[in-house]
């Protein structure tokens, strides 16, 4: 596949992620921050997000598995995850966290467990999507092409 085709695929794929709500405008902000002085900025920040989120999801699983659930602790973890996902534009994960926090406030353990499942699912989905996106970018760069800048006009 030649570079132009790959770039077209990347643009279409990225657009679909926005259309389907996986990503929001904040992701574009990240991309716009990337420059020659820091060409891997987006991958770096998203990798931090992956590490951070997986730890938080583990902590949440453990916290909800306790005989006496500490809802303040659970809420604190969800708050962190909501913040990180919001900062990188992982919209569905963020929205899942918003719902989760409401149930923490109600101290509704069953609903919290359902939310945790939901958030985990959304997290793994967006992780796969972003990894696929980065692979497409790598292929373009390896073939000597440049990454097209996304615009919000669509």
């Amino acid at each position: 596949m030649e570079v132009g085709q790959m770039q077209g695929r990347l643009v279409d794929y990225t657009k679909s992620l926005f259309m389907e709500g996986f990503l929001d405008g904040q992701f574009l902000q990240l991309q716009q921050l990337q420059d020659e002085s820091n060409p891997d900025f987006v991958v770096e920040v998203v990798s931090l997000f992956f590490d951070d989120s997986e730890k938080l999801l583990n902590d949440l699983t453990m916290a909800l598995d306790q005989p006496n659930v500490d809802f303040k602790k659970v809420d604190a973890h969800v708050h962190q995850l909501k913040g990180s996902s919001s900062s990188i534009g992982a919209q569905r994960v963020k929205n899942g966290c918003i719902a989760f926090r409401n149930f923490c406030e109600e101290q509704n353990i069953e609903a919290c467990l359902r939310c945790l499942q939901q958030v985990k699912q959304e997290y793994y989905l967006v992780k796969n999507k972003l990894e696929a996106l980065f692979r497409l970018e790598q292929q373009i760069v390896a073939a000597g092409g440049s990454i097209p800048m996304m615009e919000m006009g669509f």
Binding site: Q29, L30, L33, N38, F41, E44, V45, A76, S86, S87
Partner: protein, 153 residues
């Protein structure tokens, strides 16, 4: 959206802004979230600011020379702006703001509070305590342009 900052501030250019006092403004950014620290750091560096980050209020105070066991204020790092998250474990951004405003040495440094919650009570509480601005997270490039307008005054 091009150039111009909101609210009564003329002449901000889109490019690196030449600051009056010649050097790059030095910003202290305080946030317990690693991703947010990285983000604010990059946003500020892209606007030609020198950035120091701190992961909590105590570390921030130490850096500013206000640590509980610091008597010697001669070693204060000169900071032109402090940006702090509101929700932090231990010392909140609001508590940090109060400590800064209580200090004779640091009370003139503008403090900006960041929060993910758009709470009117929280906003007025911070502004009353002397915060320069209150901004919603996540931070964007247009927000940093607005901040630089404040630094230029």
């Amino acid at each position: 959206m091009d150039g111009g900052c909101g609210g009564g501030c003329g002449g901000c250019s889109k490019d690196d802004i030449a600051v009056e006092f010649g050097d790059e403004p030095h910003v202290l950014a305080v946030d317990d979230n690693l991703i947010d620290r990285k983000l604010v750091e990059k946003l500020l560096k892209n606007s030609s600011c020198k950035v120091t980050t701190a992961e909590n209020g105590l570390r921030a105070l130490e850096y500013l020379g206000l640590g509980s066991d610091q008597r010697n204020t001669l070693e204060i790092s000169k900071v032109n702006l402090i940006i702090t998250d509101y929700c932090m474990p231990g010392m909140t951004g609001y508590e940090l703001l109060k400590k800064i405003k209580e200090s004779s040495v640091l009370k003139e440094v503008p403090v900006v509070i960041l929060s993910s919650e758009n709470s009117p009570t929280r906003i007025s509480q911070c502004l009353e305590e002397g915060a320069q601005m209150f901004m919603l997270k996540p931070l964007k490039q247009s927000d940093v342009k607005q901040l630089k307008c404040h630094l230029m005054r």
